[in-house]
Each structure stands twice: as C-alpha cells, then as structure tokens.
Symmetry: C2
Subunit: 344 residues, 2 copies
C-alpha cells in the first residue's frame, strides 16, 4: 500500500494502525512492496477477486461493514477450496466522490474483522478515486504443504460428489432483497422477530455475510480422502462442472438430495412458483464441493461433523464427460439456468 | 483466474493459452488459487496497483497494447524499488460494455509482452463487467534473499540522494497529450520525423510505456551499497519524502542537478512559461531514487553504467526531518506542487 497514491495518506495510516500482524509478516503496509515469509516446505497459494458496485453489490442492500467482511470472505473461500491456510491479503479501493464519509471506515472495519477471524494480515493495497461506483479488489495469499493441496482436477469415476452445509440460501436472500426485503430492519427493530422473517434474515445474511469454510477445507485436505475440491460461487451445477472439466469426467447430481436449510424450506413452501433450482444454480453459497471414494462415506461425515459442519453426498462422478441432474424418482431434470451471474 | 466469473470462459481460455510459464509455477490459471513455490531462502515480495479509466489513463491517449504493458510495468517497478526479482502476476479486468471488441485482446497482449520481458508468469486474476470505465487491477509477486531487500527506511544523514535515468519526461508527455499531441500519429505516418516531434514522441512514450528499472534495482541490491530505495511514481520530491519519513531523516534536493533528457531540454527551451519543476514533482518517472554513502560515488556510477543506465547524485540526506530544494546558486526553491495526482 503506497502512501503516495491519490493523497490518501490519512485513510491508509488509519487502516494501517488497525492491522494486527499475524504469522510470516516481515514488512507490512508502507513500503513499495510487502515482505512475507512462507513456512518451510510450504507452497504459496494466491487468488484475487474484484467486487464492482451494481455488479456484485448494491449500496442499498450491502451495508459497508458486511461488504468489507464479504470482500475478504469470498477470497478466503478460494483458499479454503484448495485446503490452504490463509495468511496475507491486499486490499485496493477505488472510491467514488459520493460515498458517505464513514462508508470506507466501516468497510475496512468489516474487512479487518474478517481478517482477524482467520488470522489473515492486511499487508498492502492501493487507494484511488473512482469516476463512478466503488471498486474493491482483494488478493489473498495462503500456504500449504504440497501433498495436501486439493485441486479441481482429481475426481475419479465412481467417486461420491459431496457438498458442505446447505445450498440456495444466498440466492434466496438475493431474491428477497429484490422483492423489497429490508436487510437492515430486522437487526434494528425489536418488532421483527417472527419465524418467517428471521428465516428471511438468515437467507439474506448468507448472501451479505458469507462464511468461508476454512476449517472444513483444512480438515478435508489433512484427511487425504478427497480427490478434488472447489468452492461453490456460481451454483453447484456450474462449479461441479469445473471439477468435471478439469478431471476429464462427468457426473450425475441428485436434485432432491441437495441440502437446504430449514429457513429455505419454510420460505420455499410459502410461495407458489418458487424457483426450486436455487440450490442447484443459485450461486454465492461459498460451500465446498468435493469428491471422494464411496468407501470413505462414514469418515467424511464424521470429519465434517467434528468441524461443526455437515456433509451431504449429492451425486456420483461418471466416466462420461457430461453433468446431468436427476430427480428422486430417477427422472431427468433440465436446469432452468446453468449458473449464477451475480446481479446482472 | 476462475473460469466461472461472468461467463468470460472464452476470454480467460484465450489469455491462458498465451501464457508462458517461468520459474516457480506449480499451478497457474484455472483453479481456485494459483500454486507457486519460492526459491529456497528467499522471502516473498508483493505489491498491487489499480488503474482506473479517466483517473490513471484515457482511452483516447492510451492505446490498449501499451496500456496493458504499463499496467504490469508500474507494479514491476515496485519490486525493482525493493531490489526484488519479479516472478508472478495476477490480472483483474472490469470491462465496460462499450469497449471495442479487440481492446482487451490487445491490452492482454501488451500485458503478456511486458511479462515475458521480465520472465513474469501470469498465474491468475478475475474478469467481470463494469457499469462505467475499464478497471485494471494488477498484483505482482517477487522474491529476494532477506539480506538484499532494500526498503524506504535505511537512509542515513550525510548519504547522497541518487536517481536513475532522467526525470520529468512522462509528466512532459502528459502535458503534450493534454495540449493535443496525437500519441498514435508519429508511429504510423512517415512524414513525422522532425527532431522536436520525435522528442515529443519520446516524452509521450515515457508516459505511455514506462520501463521498470529491474536490472538496476537488482544490481543495487546485490552491491550492498544502498541504504534505502523507492521508485518515483509521484515525483522525486514526494517520493524522497517517503524515504525521509520512514528513515526519520530529511534532505536537500538540488533542483539544477536533476537529470533531464535531451528531448526534455529541447522542448522546455522552446516554450515560455514552461513548468520547470516537472522533474521535481511531475510524476510517473518510474526511475529509482536511492541513498548511499558519499564514499561510494564512483562504485554507484560504474555499477549503473554496467546496467545500461545512469545515476545522478541530486542531493544530501540531512538529520533535520525536512525536505528542502535549492538552486545551483544556493538559493531556496519553493516547489509549485508537492506531487503528482495522475489525471485528476
């Protein structure tokens, strides 16, 4: 984070003063480059994500604190999907003139709170002006022993297809916001405690404040049981598709086995014409999709339970390079959409 | 670089197909995170820069090829300033709908050509839509042995202040473009070969296609002679100011010793009311500013000559924590501007 850019001295100094330094940081914010050191025998894992206003987030839905948290969470999720330990982050902000004065302060508070939760140190970045919307660009770096790193490319025909947690909540949250649900209200008003509303709040929270599955990712990597892994950002249909493509295999997903939350189920049952394939292609779940031998089912379930998470087998890897979806009665299902396109 | 984002499969595949892999790359574009390995006993150096349309560049001035080159060059320059070896880069693009079809193709060609020149491998990134201008966010990673890394913080009272190359050309180029000079014309038209015009082209080229001083940075690091270093992106006055601040010292810059190119001199002499402090605070020079003991002057000059560069002593580090500028006659000079604010 160069202190000269756009004269944002004050902002960068304030951010730097709030940073807690964790493992491996030699020189953090303030020089031309940050200097860090890897744990011996570990390899470096790097990923980057750019969040654009009105493409990935809307100011009227995303409060700045949770937006800051999410901007780091989605990058950490990429490292979780590799079974890696998150270590260091870079944060670049392009700031429009019409942003409320405290927006960036609250956004960086959120970012740094998420960083603390995963022992990630903010080591640099960039700040500049934006002629239009807010742009948040995050780079995450982590490390892992080479033999534990999990890739998209190891799935074998006959493997189970697994998913952590529940699917479709975030996509449901997006629908609710789109229908006019006020994301800020339930937290501030004591009057809004009804069951369906708190369910709605839960779904919206999955969208606005996702949890990267780092503990599960590390446990799965350490287990040696997993043949391939990815995080679900575009819906399991599209993201398992990436595993299939890079592994040179296909697979069959069982639509009715896709795990959904109680909140999802209750809201879904209250509406006619509900888009029932949100768990398949809704997006922004940030759960892990992975593959493992069917002989290891019990171990996988036990391992994930120990992580405070759940694992559900949702399909089978096939030799045929094609991803299909079937209903519980064995009938073929044609997805409404292939994947998630954020807000656009 | 995740292949799912915004459905930019084709673009990412085309970029990935053009990447040449250099040292340390285990897994490049195509998984949730890239995997790289550091050379034993080296530390990791990381920097990031965001370039915004109409803040850092204008489409009518910056042709896409040179824009791509520059977007990486400015990040490589940060590693040069640390005396580090550039290794890997991440490239994120937010693409507006009105961008001409070949713009991103040519821009990534330029980026990859610059990467090849410095043996940098593009290992990932992100692509998405932009509601307004083009956004280019680049993260660069490099490595160096800990004892060779140069920081802003080591300058000592009595040290010489040095600068590589010449200053002010890029800022002059910006003025010329602002006055209506056509950056594309001289390359395409055989009629434009006059001395002053090719001088103008040289200045514009310093702005649009800067050269990171990697060879000089590495040689200076290896020499053990340098006490502090920074790259000059905001003008030597502001950037030596960062060295002074982080070293707890001050300094005196000799305005009339600041090295300028023949082209700069000839254009400057042709205009009345020319802004003579462009070499002081014009910005975007991407030269190195560094400090060293006055006993090492000959060694520094010889070392830089070997790199095909030049070094000029332009001032003295002082104990007093203040940066001043003097003329050749010893009179004090009050700068017109403290530093460069890009296009705004």
């Amino acid at each position: 984070m160069k202190t000269g850019d756009s004269g944002e001295f004050g902002l960068i100094s304030r951010i730097a003063a709030q940073v807690h330094s964790h493992q491996g940081v030699i020189t953090g914010i303030g020089d031309d480059a940050a200097v860090t050191v890897l744990t011996p025998d570990m390899q470096l894992l790097t990923s980057t994500d750019m969040l654009m206003e009105d493409i990935h987030f809307r100011r009227r839905w995303h409060d700045p604190y949770r937006l800051g948290r999410k901007s780091l969470a989605v990058s950490i999720s990429d490292l979780a999907a590799m079974g890696a330990i998150p270590r260091w982050a870079l944060l670049s902000l392009a700031i429009p003139a019409d942003l409320p004065p405290n927006f960036i302060t609250e956004c960086t508070h959120g970012f740094l709170a998420m960083a603390e939760e995963y022992s990630v140190t903010l080591i640099g970045g960039d700040t500049c002006a934006s002629r239009s919307g807010l742009v948040i660009s995050v780079t995450i770096m982590g490390e892992q022993r080479p033999e534990l790193i999990l890739r998209r490319s190891g799935a074998r025909p006959g493997d189970d297809i697994w998913v952590s947690g529940t699917l479709g909540d975030a996509a449901l949250g997006l629908k609710l916001l789109d229908f006019g649900f006020d994301s800020a209200q339930p937290r501030d008003s004591a009057g809004h405690t009804g069951r369906s509303l708190s369910g709605a709040e839960g779904a919206v929270s999955r969208l606005l404040d996702p949890t990267p599955r780092v503990t599960a990712g590390l446990a799965l990597a350490a287990s040696g049981l997993v043949t391939s892994m990815i995080d679900i950002s575009d819906g399991i249909l599209a993201d398992f598709g990436h595993i299939a493509e890079l592994s040179g295999v296909g697979g069959c997903l069982h639509l009715d086995d896709l795990p959904v939350s109680d909140c999802f189920r209750s809201i879904a049952s209250a509406f006619n014409d509900f888009p029932h394939d949100l768990p398949l292609s809704g997006g922004e779940d940030y759960e892990l999709c992975f593959t493992a031998s069917p002989g290891d089912r019990e171990k996988i379930i036990g391992l994930m339970k120990k992580c405070g998470n759940q694992a559900t087998a949702v399909g089978i890897v096939s030799r045929q390079p094609e991803v299909t979806v079937v209903r519980a009665d064995g009938s073929s299902y044609t997805p409404l959409s292939k994947g998630f396109n954020h807000l656009i």
